[in-house]
Structures are given as structure tokens and as C-alpha cells.
């Protein structure tokens, strides 16, 4: 299939439109079938993907507004491939486990549109197209948080929308300036990201543009101090909303960092390593501490997910293959693990309609299967070896170790702090005596929940034990990216920091 990327983008959107016709009773089955087809299509993409080729594959170009240089330009490489699969996978799992009863038709249609925008962001290679999907993704999410959320849902939904919208408008200005500079250099209007990569800019331009792009992306990640929208969004969103938000939407930010500012402004990126790293460190340690202090299970997980995003950013700014590959892999594992954790909180919320830790205790006796899955996922979140997170976290930190030893060691405390809050959470919820009467008669996981959750467990362990099939294509593209950045960098400082292949893998 030549147009597989277009199909991947358009299929959920068309299915969403047709979904208006489907009756309320069968919409759930419809949603799941559409998501399954989409997931299979993304697997087909992986199957036909050439893992040894580092550049863009399945490229599609169609001029959209030639006078502005905007085109419909899609492509996929090792970096985006697995995030696309993650998006379709999490959407499918989320739909399977979906427990919403109210207005289910609207929910499923919004989810399908959301899926289109998610895939769209990751396959776009034209800055404006990227921006279009990036902004569009806010709309269904606004609706999902605002219509199915908790008490403060409207506040949370608007905060989510406005924060990201404001940030990305600054990024838009950056994009327009970039296009202008590209025009000045080449005489051609173009918003093509791959073309922009080839443009070498003077340092002061690089820094300003880096800041413009970074603000837009950092709000989405969310970097400290722009992270305040996230706990609200998570706290109020329905389970499915949190799952998709944590698993995929946040990855748009980190993916954007790898795709846009890093290769476009290598010198500025190196110049900004320390400010960014310090922000990431604050994010890692501070939010981990905040997570420990939370009374609400979902907030613990929300803050832990912010903390882990910090590690991802740190790994990206290591600027070497280990760090970036690790970060991209960590994005995937964070997607799977935090998605699963939010789903697990959702399970207990559906039964008790509360997420307060103090309301629980001794659940391991009542819900053994639930406790097992939660245990595995809590361990994965901490970064236990043989789980997916370990691979990502280890590689990210190993990458950044080459940049700064002290900072990496500080960031490494995230593993310890993570263990502290996760194990405390686990202890308080699952161990001890059952204190609350209501908790005695809780049902254990039902069929659809088990199916969704055990799939996630399987993926976590499979890729924890044998990450090679995923890691290799990522690494191929990342190595090409880093050596490209190395070549493009002008200052010797940047050249010395961006080291394409310092450590030869021993297996070879």
C-alpha cells in the first residue's frame, strides 16, 4: 500500500463520521472494530517498514497551499513508527476497557477523531500540518474531559485547552519565522520539516527560535513550571481521558522535541542543555515528592507520570544515540505503563466512586487479580529490571551520564523516590486489614478489564525482556539523526557534545 499513512490518518476520521449513523446499542462494538482495524493497519506499517533504513519511509507529498509552501507531507521513520503503533494500541485497549455509560456514542466518536489527530501529529512532516493535528487534538480531549469528568471538569478542560493553545501559538510564530528565514536563504517557501533540518542558522536566531518551539512543546510535555494544567486534567478526566492523555498526548511534546528543535537548532540545543536539564531535574525530583504527598491515587500516578516525563526530556537532551533512543523507548513504556496505571485506578473508581487512598486498604484479599496486575504495573513504573520501563529509563540516564555525572545521579533518585511513593501507595491500598465495610464486597477484574490489562502486562514484560525488535529500528533512525546533528552543528562545543556513536555496541 503506497498510501498507508493517509489511510492510517483518515480511516479513524471517516469511521468517526460514519459513526454518527451507527445506533447507540452497537456503537461500542463499532468503536472496537474500527480501533482493531486501525491497530492492524499500524502493525502492517511495522511489518512493511524497512528497519535498516534510517530515513523517512512511505513518504507522501501533495502541495496544499503552494504559495505559502504548505503541503500535505507525511512520512514515518523509526522514531515515529512505534509511537504511532502506541497510539493505535492504546486507543484500542482504552476502548476495550471503556466503562463510560453516559453518551457513549459521543464518547466513541470523539475518541476516533482523537485517534486521527494523534496519528496525524506523528506522521506529519510539514510543520503546518503538524500544527493542524496538534491543535485539533485539543478539541476532542476538551470534550472528553469536560463532558465526562469530575466536579471541576469544565475548569480543568478549559485550563488544558488554553495552556496548550497559548503555547502552541508561540510555536506557530516560531514556525512562521523559520519559514521566512528558509525563504531568505533559499528563495523557496517551505514548511517541510525535513527541508528545515538542512537550514543552518546563526546562533542568535537559533536560540530565539529554540525558545519559541520549546515553549510550545514544553507546555505539552509538561515541563516544570508549565505542568500545572496536568494534575487538574488528570484529576478531572474520565479514565479513558487520562489514559490517552498520559499515554499518547504528552508524547506529542517529547516527540516534537526530537523532531523539531533538536535537528533544526543543534547549536542552540547544546547551548540550552543545562537550563533544560535543570528544569527536567526539578520536574523529576519535585513532582516525585509531590506525588508522595498526594491523598488521591490518581494524583499520585499523575505526578509520577510528570516525573517520568522529566527523565524522557533529560534523555533527549543527552544528544547522543543512547539517550535519545532510550527516551523514545521510554516514551513507549511510559505510554503503556502509565496508561495501565490510570486504567487500574479507573477500575477501582468505577466500583467505589472514590480515588482517595484512605478509603482503601487490604484490597489484596478482596481483589487478588487486581492486586497482581497493579503490583506488576507499580513495579514497572518504578523501573524494575525485566520490565519495559527499565530499558527506557536506564538508557536515557546512561545517555545523559555522558553529559553530566552529577545531574544523572540526581535524576537517578527518581527511581528511589518512585519506589517510595509507589510502594507506599501499594501498601496503603492493598495490604493490611480491610477497614472499610464497603470494600469487602468488591468484584475483582471482569472480563474486558482483564483482557485490556493483561495485554498491557504482556507487552510490558515482553519488551522488558526482549526489547530488540523495537529498539533497533529506533536506534537506526536516532543514530542517523545524531550524526546529522553532529555534522550540522557549527560550534565546536556542540560538536563535542553531540557524539554520534561513541560507544560501539559490544554485540557487534
Amino acid at each position: 500500500m503506497d498510501h498507508i499513512l493517509s489511510v492510517l490518518v483518515l480511516f479513524p476520521a471517516i469511521a468517526g463520521l460514519l459513526g454518527f449513523v451507527v445506533s447507540k446499542e452497537s456503537i461500542r462494538a463499532y468503536g472496537i472494530s474500527v480501533a482493531t482495524i486501525e491497530f492492524l493497519l499500524s502493525l502492517w506499517l511495522w511489518f512493511s517498514f524497512d528497519a535498516s533504513y534510517p530515513g523517512m519511509q512511505f513518504v507522501e507529498v501533495l502541495p496544499l497551499i503552494p504559495s505559502f509552501g504548505i503541503s500535505y507531507y507525511l512520512g514515518v521513520d523509526g522514531i515515529s513508527l512505534f509511537i504511532i503503533i502506541l497510539s493505535t494500541f492504546i486507543t484500542l485497549i482504552g476502548l476495550i476497557a471503556l466503562s463510560v455509560k453516559k453518551d457513549i456514542k459521543n464518547m466513541i466518536i470523539s475518541l476516533l477523531f482523537l485517534e486521527m489527530t494523534m496519528v496525524g501529529v506523528f506522521v506529519s512532516l510539514d510543520a503546518i500540518l503538524f500544527y493542524v493535528f496538534w491543535e485539533l487534538s485539543l478539541v476532542p480531549m476538551l470534550y472528553i474531559i469536560g463532558a465526562w469528568g469530575g466536579e471541576l471538569r469544565i475548569y480543568a478542560a478549559i485550563k488544558f485547552f488554553l495552556y496548550t493553545f497559548a503555547g502552541s501559538l508561540i510555536m506557530l510564530v516560531g514556525m512562521l519565522v523559520m519559514a521566512y528565514l528558509y525563504h531568505q536563504a533559499t528563495g523557496i517557501w517551505s514548511f517541510s520539516i525535513t527541508e528545515w533540518h538542512r537550514l543552518i542558522l546563526p546562533m542568535n536566531y537559533q536560540i530565539w527560535l529554540f525558545i519559541a518551539f520549546f515553549i510550545g512543546l514544553a507546555i505539552k510535555v509538561p515541563m516544570f513550571p508549565f505542568h500545572t494544567w496536568l494534575p487538574y486534567a488528570h484529576g478531572q478526566a474520565p479514565t479513558i481521558g487520562s489514559v490517552i492523555l498520559a499515554a499518547v498526548l504528552l508524547k506529542m511534546g517529547t516527540y516534537g522535541l526530537v523532531r523539531l528543535p533538536l535537528p533544526m537548532f543543534p547549536d542552540a540545543s547544546v547551548h540550552m542543555i543545562y537550563p533544560v536539564a535543570i528544569l527536567s531535574l526539578i520536574m523529576i525530583i519535585y513532582t516525585a515528592m509531590v506525588a508522595y504527598a498526594q491523598k488521591d491515587m490518581k494524583q499520585v500516578i499523575a505526578y509520577s507520570s510528570v516525573s517520568h516525563m522529566g527523565v524522557i526530556v533529560l534523555g533527549i537532551f543527552a544528544m547522543n544515540p543512547e539517550g535519545i533512543t532510550g527516551s523514545v523507548f521510554f516514551m513507549l513504556s511510559h505510554g503503556v505503563v502509565s496508561g495501565a496505571l490510570f486504567m487500574l485506578v479507573g477500575v477501582i473508581y468505577d466500583r467505589r466512586h472514590t480515588k482517595l487512598i484512605s478509603e482503601f486498604g487490604g484490597l489484596a484479599q478482596v481483589m487478588p487479580r487486581y492486586a497482581t496486575v497493579m503490583g506488576i504495573m507499580a513495579m514497572a513504573s518504578v523501573g524494575l529490571p525485566l520490565t519495559m520501563s527499565f530499558v527506557g529509563e536506564f538508557l536515557s540516564l546512561a545517555g545523559f551520564y555522558q553529559v553530566s555525572h552529577t545531574m544523572t545521579i540526581l535524576a537517578g533518585t527518581s527511581i528511589i523516590l518512585g519506589a517510595v511513593y509507589m510502594l507506599t501507595l501499594y501498601k496503603r491500598v492493598f495490604f493490611g486489614e480491610v477497614v472499610h465495610e464497603k470494600n469487602r464486597k468488591l468484584n475483582d477484574l471482569d472480563g474486558k478489564e482483564s483482557m485490556a490489562l493483561w495485554t498491557l502486562v504482556l507487552v510490558t514484560i515482553w519488551l522488558g525482556v526482549y526489547p530488540k525488535p523495537v529498539l533497533e529500528p529506533i536506534n537506526t533512525s536516532v543514530e542517523a539523526l545524531v550524526s546529522f546533528m553532529h555534522k550540522k552543528a557549527m560550534t565546536s562545543e556542540a560538536k563535542s557534545v553531540i557524539r554520534p556513536t561513541v560507544i560501539k555496541r559490544e554485540a557487534e
Binding site: 497551499i65 504559495s67 478539541v139 470534550y143 497559548a166 501559538l169 519565522v177 521566512y180
Partner: protein, 496 residues
């Protein structure tokens, strides 16, 4: 002794007057039909008006670019033709909004349609000349007709609106005349191109006087374009007028005003007078920001849209301030895209218009509460309205995003990066109040039990128009390139 004047018909070049004459003749025709036979249904007049406008459009398209006529006061340049096309298209789209299913008495008078056509002719005069007197005549013809149209809606609030608009308009007219007078005193001419010639060699002392003239012009056009601080009439007038007319007012008089502003200010922006540029810069920033901030606290959707249209006008004035061909073309692109979105948004309000307002204390026709929970009652209507709001907020890929994009790009290409950032931040502020309506429609529980409330006033033609605006709003991206090419050709042809 005065020489006897001999004028040949050829030198008059009456063809340049043809479009306006068609509109005027059509208006008179409508009045004559009424004389011959009373009580003809409004559908006839609506369709007749559309047809007249269509013929008018044909005449406009048939004109030769660069022509002058009628004692050289008429000027057919690219700007004139382009803006007339927009004016006529918009008028053709807004006229059928009279075909409501409910009876509104203003439409039962043929005078309504006659006045409407006179107004269109006035706007056409305004844009198709560079003679200050004729601009003034066009402006007044159009405005007087518009005041009456507003009052015809025949509610207390409409009279208030019409009077308010009239007094403010009179003041603006006064300013315009004073400005013209000063230019005439300075240069001995009321033709803009001659004024430019004289001023380009004028001494510094004269410049001070010229600046007074410019101040008057800024004030006069500021009233017409509802720039802050001359904007105070706008929300009240929009609220008093029917939604259909308010939508029309947010689009057509503005484009005519922009063309006049472009003709007048461009003279000074391209000369060395920094002052004009600075004051326009300030006006643009203040208009965008202040209107946005005030819009945040509105309780009525129509008032909110009024402030939003002020803010959009400020956004677009930036293009005039920048003054490059690219910026001026972007202005037209923006306004065409704005036309379709606003047409849809106001038409949606119009179809939900009730004779007796029942929401809250009855102060407003379209308070936010009215739309509460619309998604549960009338999902299609809610989605459509949300589309228009998202488009107005500048969410891609809907139509106005491309307009914003092109104006911001034009700003950046002329090194106004700070201005572009201000525009971006303003779009973010604006998103909040557009979202507010979406929040009410999608996230709150319904206040009405049945959806007919939102469609009380709907009829097939109105639904068709809304459908058309939805289509154009969603698929605008495909039209941007050809439109831009078309616009740039016209704008370049007139040397702006």
C-alpha cells in the same frame, strides 16, 4: 467669465458607474413593483434583490481595470473590483437570511429591500473612487440606509441601536469632512492621488497640519471600523439589530472601510511620516487586546460576537499598518474567510431567534444559557455552531486559521515579530470566549427539553446557507491557494 463646459459622453465613461446604477435602478424597481401591486410576498423581493446583485456583480466583473470615469472621480482599480466582489457576494449570501420561517415584519415592506440595495450601491461608491467627496457620499448613502434598516427591526432596542449608530455615525461623518477639508486646504484637491503628489513635496510646516487631517481621518474611519476607542457603539448596535443584519454589519461595511483606510493611510505609511505608523500600531494592538478582554465578560453570544468582530477588525488593520502587497492581500483573504464563518455563526443565532425571549431575566436574546447542553438536544446544530466558534478562534484547519496565518506571516516578513507575537497571544485570549460557548453547548446539562428551540426560525434556504458556510469553513484549506492568487493579482494591479 467662466468658460462654457463641454463634456463628451465618451470622456464620462459611464460604464464605470454601471454597477452602482444597476443596484439603484433595482431598488427603484422594487419600489415601483410595490406601487403597482401591494402585498407581494417577501420571497419575490428577496429573490429579486439577489438577482439584481447578481447582475451588479456581472457588471463589476466586466469592468476594465485601471479605468477612470465620470469626471475622473470614479476609479476602477483592482482594489475597487475586488472589494465590490466581496461586498456583492456577501450581500447575496445575507439577503436570503430574510427567508425565515417566522414572520418578521420588516421583511414585509419592500422598502427594506430597496434600502438594502441603496446601501450596497453606497458601499460600491465608497470603494470605487479615490475622491474624498465621493467616498463621503457613498459612506453617507450606505450609512443612512443602514440606520433605517436597523430601526426597521422594530423593537425598543433596535431604535436605541439605530439612534446610537446614527449619532455616532454623524460624528464620524463630521470628522471625515473636517479631515477632507484640511487636506483640501493644504493641497487644493480632494483626489487622493493628487493629495499624495502635493504632500510628497510639502514642507515640514505643512506636515503638522497634515497630521491634524490624518487624526481626523483616523477618528472617522475608526468609528466606521469600530477601532478602540471609537468602538463603543458596536455591541449595542449589534444587539439591537437582527442577527442577520448584525452579521452583515460585521462584514460588509468593514470591508468598504478597510478599502478606504487602505487608500488613505497607505499614502502616509509609505512616506517618511513615522507618526502615522506608530499611532496605527498602537490602535491595532489596543483594539485587538481590549476588545478581546471585554468579550471575555459578555453574557450574550451576540454581544460576544460583536466584540470579537472588533478584535478581528483590529487584527486586520494590522495588515494595513504593515502595508506590503502581501499584507494587503492577506487582509482580503482574511475577510473572505471571516465572511463565511461569521455568516454561519450569525445565521445560527438567527435561526434560533425567538419572538419572546425566555432566558434569564429576558435582558438578552442569545444568552449563553440558551445554548446550554445543546449537544444533547440538537447534536448537529451544536457541532455546526462549535465549528464556527473554533474557526473564529483560529483552530486549524478551519477557515480563519489560514487568514490568521497569512497575516501573521505578512507581519513576520516585514519584521514585525513582536506584533506577530501579540497577535498570537490575542488569539489565545480570544479562544477563551469562543470556548465558553462550546463549553455551554457541550459540557453543561440542557436547559431546554426539545431541540426545536434552536431551529424555530429555520427554513430550507437558511439551512442551505448554514450548510454552505460549514462546507466553506471546513474545506477552506483547499480554496486558500487559488483565492490568494486571485486576490494578489487584483491587489498588485492597483499598486498596493
Amino acid at each position: 467669465m467662466l468658460e462654457p463646459i463641454s463634456v463628451s459622453m465618451e470622456s464620462l465613461n459611464l460604464g464605470t458607474l454601471a454597477p452602482m446604477l444597476i443596484a439603484i435602478a433595482g431598488a427603484l424597481g422594487i419600489l415601483i413593483i410595490d406601487l403597482i401591486k401591494k402585498d407581494i410576498d417577501k420571497t419575490l423581493y428577496v429573490m429579486l434583490s439577489v438577482l439584481i446583485l447578481f447582475v451588479d456583480l456581472g457588471a463589476v466583473l466586466g469592468q476594465k481595470l485601471g479605468d477612470r470615469g465620470f469626471f475622473d472621480v470614479m476609479l476602477v482599480d483592482g482594489l475597487a473590483v475586488l472589494s465590490q466582489i466581496i461586498i456583492l457576494f456577501a450581500s447575496m449570501l445575507f439577503t436570503p437570511l430574510a427567508l425565515t420561517s417566522r414572520r418578521f415584519h420588516e421583511y414585509s415592506y419592500p422598502e427594506f429591500f430597496a434600502l438594502f440595495l441603496f446601501m450596497v450601491a453606497g458601499f460600491q461608491f465608497m470603494v470605487a473612487t479615490d475622491n474624498l467627496i465621493l467616498i463621503f457620499v457613498g459612506l453617507e448613502t450606505a450609512s443612512l440606509a443602514l440606520y433605517t434598516l436597523i430601526a426597521l427591526h422594530n423593537r425598543e432596542r433596535s431604535f436605541e441601536a439605530a439612534i446610537k449608530y446614527f449619532t455616532m455615525g454623524a460624528l464620524a461623518a463630521g470628522f471625515f469632512v473636517m479631515g477632507s477639508m484640511i487636506f483640501y486646504a493644504l493641497t487644493g484637491s480632494v483626489e487622493l492621488y493628487k493629495i499624495a503628489e502635493v504632500l510628497s513635496v510639502a514642507s515640514a510646516a505643512n506636515m503638522t497640519v497634515a497630521l491634524v487631517g490624518i487624526s481626523f481621518m483616523i477618528a472617522a474611519l475608526g468609528f466606521k471600523l469600530s477601532m478602540v476607542p471609537f468602538h463603543t457603539w458596536t455591541p449595542d448596535v449589534y444587539e439591537g439589530a437582527s442577527a442577520a443584519l448584525a452579521g452583515y454589519m460585521s462584514v460588509v461595511p468593514k470591508i468598504a472601510g478597510f478599502v478606504v483606510a487602505m487608500r488613505i493611510f497607505e499614502l502616509f505609511i509609505h512616506s517618511d511620516i513615522v507618526w502615522v505608523r506608530d499611532i496605527l500600531y498602537a490602535a491595532v494592538v489596543v483594539t485587538m487586546t481590549l476588545a478581546n478582554v471585554i468579550a471575555l465578560v459578555q453574557h450574550d453570544v451576540k454581544r460576544m460576537l460583536a466584540f470579537s468582530s472588533i478584535s478581528h477588525a483590529g487584527f486586520v488593520m494590522a495588515a494595513i499598518m504593515i502595508g506590503t502587497t502581501e499584507a494587503n492581500s492577506s487582509l482580503f483573504l482574511y475577510w473572505i474567510l471571516f465572511l463565511f464563518t461569521n455568516l454561519g455563526a450569525f445565521a445560527m443565532l438567527w435561526v434560533s431567534r425567538h419572538k419572546a425571549s425566555v432566558w434569564g431575566d429576558g435582558r438578552f436574546d442569545h444568552p449563553y444559557e440558551k445554548f446550554s447542553g445543546m449537544i444533547h438536544i440538537m447534536p448537529v446544530g451544536a457541532v455546526v455552531m462549535a465549528l464556527f466558534m473554533l474557526s473564529l478562534a483560529g483552530v486549524p484547519p478551519f477557515s480563519l486559521f489560514w487568514g490568521k496565518l497569512s497575516i501573521m506571516a505578512a507581519a513576520i516578513h516585514s519584521d514585525y515579530i513582536v506584533l506577530a507575537l501579540i497577535m498570537a497571544l490575542n488569539s489565545a485570549i480570544a479562544a477563551y470566549y469562543y470556548l465558553k460557548l462550546i463549553v455551554y453547548m457541550f459540557l453543561k446539562s440542557p436547559s431546554e427539553s426539545e431541540g426545536t428551540v434552536y431551529m424555530k426560525n429555520a427554513s430550507k434556504p437558511l439551512q442551505t446557507i448554514i450548510g454552505l458556510s460549514v462546507f466553506l469553513t471546513v474545506f477552506a484549506v483547499l480554496a486558500v491557494d487559488p483565492m490568494m492568487e486571485f486576490i494578489t493579482a487584483y491587489v498588485q494591479a492597483s499598486g498596493f
